[in-house]
């Protein structure tokens, strides 16, 4: 059952600026959908369109089966948690949470019961008489969520709710939101620019760019088969290595002369061997992507690189390497132990092998094939 459906939802501001463009999505009941994208991609505007804080320019918004385009925010059955919490500073925590119910003229006993239930769920019973300014960041966050829960909305809307918290608290609240969502079976639309938050929380992930949906799917499907370079860069940390290549018939030729043969295209169009791929024409500009996690230290590896910098993360280390002929560094995530064992330091010459899928994108940065695997590699003789 769909709780929320958007059909070609769009928003054009007065100056003609198109903030949200043709959003099509369906939020299933009990689903946590995370909308992610860089700042200015229209994700917050999209959320505000759903909330009713901005008027919808075109398209349709359906909440709980009824057209909500022209409904007042309070009548849409949505509750929103704001980035800076937007708690009412002159009211106690109890009044903050009870305010919506008071406006609905609910009986006093029901208000008290619902507020207490929500407070117990969030562990803030002891704070009900306090004012917002007497609370810590995490407590304010909880009150803001409590205010939403009390209203028992059809859809929860979260607008970057964790970005004002410190790193440790963010992880904790992230888990709490997830636990809460599962306990309440609530439908949630969650906007963030933090891709770790997005990956860990989402049932489904929506990546937005310039007001449009770039890709929509489960976090792992986006991680494994990004539809574009943009998604590839955005999902996963550290970001995927994207190397400019010229591409023809399954063979990707790197600026340094390295040729990688992949199964990205159909077998019949593929060159017989990597070596005579040069003879085949015409080569097109393309982008080859490989995740840092899928590179390993290998004496027979395809990439001969210079180790430029090491960032130790604890168990792993990030190795920033220079590939001859390329400006962009190649990042590899390697186990710290192997780095130490090989006594590698900045300046070492090493070889890296590919241990995972490759990603090929065309000149428009769109994905070329579902999946590409490295078959063989050779170094061009006319490099």
């Amino acid at each position: 059952m769909a709780t929320l459906t958007c059909r070609q939802l769009g928003k054009t501001y007065k100056g003609g600026q198109r903030a949200v463009d043709g959003i099509d999505l369906t939020l299933e009941s009990g689903e946590l959908m995370v909308v992610v994208g860089p700042s200015g991609c229209g994700k917050s505007t999209f959320l505000r369109l759903v909330a009713g804080l901005e008027t919808i320019s075109d398209g349709e918004l359906e909440i709980g089966g009824t057209l909500a385009n022209r409904l007042e925010p309070a009548q849409r059955g949505v509750a929103m948690v704001f980035q800076n919490y937007a708690l009412y500073p002159h009211m106690s925590v109890f009044d903050n949470m009870a305010y919506a119910l008071k406006l609905q003229k609910r009986p006093r006993e029901e208000i008290t019961r619902r507020v207490r239930e929500a407070a117990t769920l969030l562990g803030i019973e002891a704070l009900l008489e306090r004012r917002p300014r007497q609370l810590s960041g995490g407590q304010r966050q909880r009150v803001a969520m409590g205010r939403a829960i009390v209203r028992e909305p059809r859809v929860f809307l979260f607008d970057e709710p964790l970005s004002n918290l410190d790193a440790a608290l963010r992880v904790q609240m992230r888990l709490e939101i997830r636990r809460l969502q599962q306990r309440l079976g609530a439908s949630m639309l969650y906007v963030t620019h933090d891709q770790v938050e997005a990956m860990t929380l989402a049932d489904r992930l929506v990546v937005m760019r310039d007001g449009r949906i770039e890709q929509i799917g489960t976090p792992m499907s986006l991680f494994e088969t990004p539809a574009s370079c943009f998604v590839a860069r955005f999902i996963g940390s550290p970001a995927m290595n994207l190397l400019p290549v010229s591409h023809s018939e399954g063979c990707a030729r790197l600026p340094g002369g390295l040729i990688l043969e992949t199964d990205a295209l159909e077998a019949e169009t593929r060159a017989d061997t990597a070596a005579n791929a040069e003879a085949k024409a015409p080569a097109r500009a393309a982008t080859l992507g490989v995740r840092p996690e899928h590179l390993r230290l290998d004496p027979q590896g395809e990439f001969a690189v210079t180790l430029e910098m090491i960032e130790r993360l604890g168990v792993d280390a990030l190795a920033y390497c220079r590939l001859p002929g390329l400006d962009t560094p190649l990042t590899a995530r390697l186990p710290l132990a192997t780095l130490e064992a090989a006594a590698l330091r900045e300046g070492s010459e090493i070889r890296l092998g590919v241990d995972g899928p490759l990603h090929l994108f065309d000149a428009e940065e769109r994905r070329l094939a579902r999946r590409a695997r490295l078959i063989s590699a050779a170094t061009s003789r006319i490099a």
Binding site: A51, G52, L53, E72, P73, A74, V78, A79, M80, F82, Q83, N84, A86, Y88, P89, H90, Y99, A100, L103, Q104, R131, R133, R147, R151
Partner: protein, 281 residues
């Protein structure tokens, strides 16, 4: 930043003391003069210390009709109070709604409206006194409280001040309240009023004093002694043609006239201090 320099401290204290004397001496003279008999004051030299007629003078002032006007001092003070309260509350009510509309509503010519209100800063009652008198007279409001109050209750200053105050409220507050189902008037009552109450208190003090000190407009709008204000009565007291002015009564009335604004300031000071220390916004 505080400078600690003994020489400078002495100098600043000296300046402050001079200031206090300059401002305080006239009040002191009024206070001492109001305790002497009329005969004591006839030579025109103000005594620097108290006489023995204090109680008698104030009793006469409060119990008998004012010479020249034929109305009691209490009536005059009451008239002043009604006018000052009417002006202060009226100004706040009108500018509150105006500023609320300008800040929180998107309507055509919003900025134009704001600047039109702002331009009226250049049109105080002294400038528009003839047309204003004409309008009030035709409405038959001469010699009424309404006629004394209404022409003065539009205030660009207050609108501007409240606009700045409302602009400092975070917009998410408004949006959160909208999602909770609060309409515009509900938002005004539940959020804007409580959150700007310190500013409203400050405005009230300023506007009350403005209203209390009005001279020219009540002089025109209130012809009968029944509606005369305390400030106007002061002039009447010292303007006797055939006898010497009753200076002991004039000075006593002056002190009584000064008193209410002082009370308002002292009473409202609590709010200022709380507004400064209480970072609720």
């Amino acid at each position: 930043m505080r400078y600690r320099r003994p020489g400078l401290d002495g100098l600043t204290h000296l300046l402050l003391i001079i200031g206090v004397v300059i401002f305080g001496l006239p009040l002191w003279l009024a206070l001492t003069a109001s305790t002497h008999s009329a005969a004591d004051l006839q030579n025109g030299i103000a005594p620097l210390w108290f006489g023995d007629q204090g109680l008698a003078n104030y009793w006469q002032l409060l119990s008998q009709p004012m010479p020249g006007l034929g109305v009691s001092a209490l009536r005059l003070l009451g008239n002043s109070l009604v006018m000052a309260l009417g002006i202060a509350l009226g100004k706040i009510a009108i500018s509150l709604l105006a500023a609320y509309a300008i800040v929180f509503f998107r309507f055509p010519c919003r900025t134009l409206c704001f600047w039109l209100i702002f331009v009226t800063l250049m049109l105080p009652v002294e400038v528009r006194i003839v047309p204003t008198y004409g309008v009030v007279a035709r409405f038959g409001l001469i010699d009424t409280y309404a006629g004394m109050i209404l022409p003065l209750i539009a205030s660009a200053t207050a609108t501007f001040l409240l606009r700045q105050c409302f602009l400092s409220l975070p917009s998410e507050l408004f949006e959160a309240a909208r999602l909770d189902g609060a309409g515009p008037l509900r938002f005004l009552k539940d959020f804007v009023l409580p959150l700007s109450r310190t500013n409203l208190a400050a405005l009230f003090v300023i506007m009350f004093i403005y209203g209390w000190n009005q001279y020219l407009w009540p002089l025109l709008a209130a012809n009968s002694p029944d509606h005369a204000t305390a400030v106007i009565s002061l002039k009447n007291l010292v303007q006797s043609t055939d006898t010497l002015p009753p200076w002991q009564l004039a000075t006593a009335m002056t002190l009584l006239t000064v008193l209410p604004p002082v009370v308002v300031i002292v009473a409202m000071q609590r709010f200022f201090v709380r507004g400064l220390t209480d970072a609720e916004k």
